[in-house]
Symmetry: C2
Subunit: 415 residues, 2 copies
């Protein structure tokens, strides 16, 4: 089934995927989901937030067991992150049917909308809206790179943005949620593992402010160049991450005006930081904020122009300094311990339970768990640990082990 999706949203130059929420590629993927549901005689529902549900059995009177993941992608992402969980869900249902299994508890396949946040910057929009973790007003006002709001984009896709928000009716149908996902590091040694927790993680935006100017005629001493404190921040983030035993990444940078022949007026950089321990991540960011303010104040570094400097010094004399704002923060998610251990036993090799491991990646399963729905995750081994990249990969045999493991789990949970 993954092969049916191989062409959707693929950039021929890189083989990476561009599957932004509500884009043409996303709509094509949603149609594919509808087709797979129809072919199996499943009852397709789209909730008010754009999440898709394909039901085997009627969950109106009895909460079901749901599995699934998402079909959207980070930009230039791989083929597995998201789709593997949806494809494996359908394949596990097929396997259960072959086994002659008839669910007493309704069984659902879910596809959550905009898990990656590639378009609007906020991840897990579909599941967050569903559980009420994201306010509808905030969601609708999010803008993409073209300046279009989520409200506009949903309207163009024929959806009704006024209806989004917490959806208790849909939530009531989900008794248990199990998400299968490709592992995204190299920590899983067997073919299939079980998640213990999702690391606390957050995203911060650093706006370094300076004075745009001519690159040829402005003497070094007359400059107020925000590229310099930005570069220092990048190096310091890495050093501090190693010190705190967490990960920190600068993966997105915006330079304004962005001309090769102009000293920039502003450099904005996004810091992603995560770790096993919430306090370590928080301390890293605090330290880095102080460091960036110091670098922004460092007249010798910036170029000689005295400036107002400091954090949130946007109103300062020359508009210089650095603004740091938290764009998102997700506390640690510990998955349901009983469910986790039950899955590890089912998925393990004989008497040896499967490996239990945390992850640094956010998932819809984490959002549902936070909302009080017993949730769990299965991971399929990633031989190189590469993810969010066209080189993301999982072996066919491991993917098949994942489907069998998922079928076993669903069979057990639906009994």
């Amino acid at each position: 089934m993954l092969e049916q999706l191989a062409h959707v949203g693929r950039d021929p130059a890189t083989n990476g995927y561009i599957r932004d929420a509500w884009s043409h590629a996303d709509l094509e993927l949603r149609e594919w989901f509808a087709g797979e549901a129809a072919r199996r005689g499943l009852d397709l529902r789209e909730d008010r937030n754009g999440n898709l549900w394909a039901w085997w059995g009627d969950p109106s009177h009895r909460p079901g067991v749901v599995t699934g993941s998402h079909l959207d992608s980070v930009r230039q992402g791989g083929a597995f992150d998201g789709p593997l969980g949806v494809v494996s869900a359908f394949a596990a249902l097929d396997l259960l049917k072959e086994r002659g299994f008839q669910p007493v508890t309704p069984l659902g396949v879910a596809c959550f909308t905009d898990e990656e946040g590639a378009r609007f910057g906020v991840p897990c929009v579909g599941s967050r809206l569903l559980t009420g973790a994201l306010a509808p007003e905030r969601a609708l006002a999010l803008t993409d790179d073209d300046g279009d709001t989520l409200a506009e984009v949903m309207t163009r896709a024929g959806r009704e943005p006024r209806l989004i928000g917490r959806d208790d009716e849909t939530l009531a149908t989900v008794g248990t949620f199990v998400e299968l996902h490709v592992e995204q590091g190299r920590a899983l040694h067997g073919p299939v593992g079980v998640a213990s927790a999702i690391w606390p993680h957050g995203r911060w935006r650093f706006d370094f402010l300076g004075q745009a100017n001519h690159a040829g005629t402005t003497r070094l001493g007359d400059r107020d160049d925000p590229m310099l404190p930005f570069a220092r921040m990048v190096l310091e983030a890495r050093a501090a991450a190693a010190r705190y035993g967490v990960v920190a990444t600068v993966g997105k940078v915006r330079v304004s005006p962005g001309n090769a022949n102009a000293v920039p007026g502003q450099v904005s950089a996004w810091l992603d930081a995560r770790g096993a321990n919430e306090r370590d991540v928080r301390e890293l960011v605090a330290e880095l904020t102080d460091h960036a303010a110091g670098a922004a104040d460092d007249v010798a570094l910036r170029g000689g122009i005295e400036n107002g400097g400091g954090v949130a010094a946007r109103g300062g004399a020359a508009g210089s300094g650095v603004d740091v704002s938290e764009e998102s923060w997700t506390p640690v998610v510990d998955f349901d311990a009983a469910l986790r251990d039950r899955l590890a036993a089912l998925v393990g090799d004989g008497d040896t339970p499967a490996q239990i491991l945390p992850t640094g990646a956010g998932h819809d399963a984490g959002i549902l768990a936070t909302a009080g729905i017993p949730s769990a995750m299965l991971f399929v081994r990633n031989p190189t640990g590469v993810s969010h990249s066209p080189e993301e990969h999982a072996e066919q045999a491991d993917c098949e082990s994942g489907v069998v493991a998922l079928a076993n789990v669903l069979e057990d949970l639906c009994r």
Copy 2:
């Protein structure tokens, strides 16, 4: 007249100008030029490369004296860089008419196409094509951010791209060229000065290569993050520029894939370097290239993954390292010494000649000078030295002094 142009291509969010070559704004500015020429009874010509010429007198039999500049802008640029020279040219002609002056030598106002290179990355496209300094095949293949070539863009604007290239017929009409321009640093102390030279300058592209990966799940030690050697390069460029007594700027950066939650696979940065002395600029770039290769090879810095490393190591094991390529190089331009001194005497205050100063900015006057046309530049004082920015400014009184100075120069040259 500058006020008539104030609204064209202005970004209301910043008050900066976006006036890319052949854009809607550019076409509007060209129409304005045509109107100003018509209103004065000047003979308007557009050459095969899109440069505009408005003639007072017929230069077919006798080479003329030409003044002018350009109307396009860097992105988010100011109101003066370019337009001041064109507006002052028309204003100087008006002043000469008021004085009852009748040119024996034909007098022309020029507007060169795509001086800034904001759209296609190569500056002075119009004057370089005219003089043969830029090969037509190379120019036509240049692409903008949308992937459109110059050939396509010119065709859409109703021009014939097959005809571009060196134009001896037009060149033969230009006996002398004088460009008036706002000064772009703080080196000019009086209202009007005269250029001695244009610093040698060049643009280099540094492609730092690594491995795109997930920001949450990839351990620091499993990373090959090109953002880190890039950041080191930025800081080193600044330090080396101070050491060599030149200017070096990183004003444009492209991060791929550019997701906040992904370790980048590639960071491309453009280095602009200029100085009074060609050897110093060359040595700075050589040193920086070595430094970048060292940083790209620094396993501890990148994140622990061993890589092929080194300059032009694109074919290396992990595709890591750095590629450095020269995008443009312009040797020093020394303006005609006799013309320079004649202008300084004319423009000065009584017996004191005007200030003579070099500039770090490239200009069409430099391209024409290199092609052997006696050329000169007048600078109008810039109180803050800010340029290529919405805050670019010149005082009204200084602009008026510029017009008077230009009129005096033209009157003298046309005698």
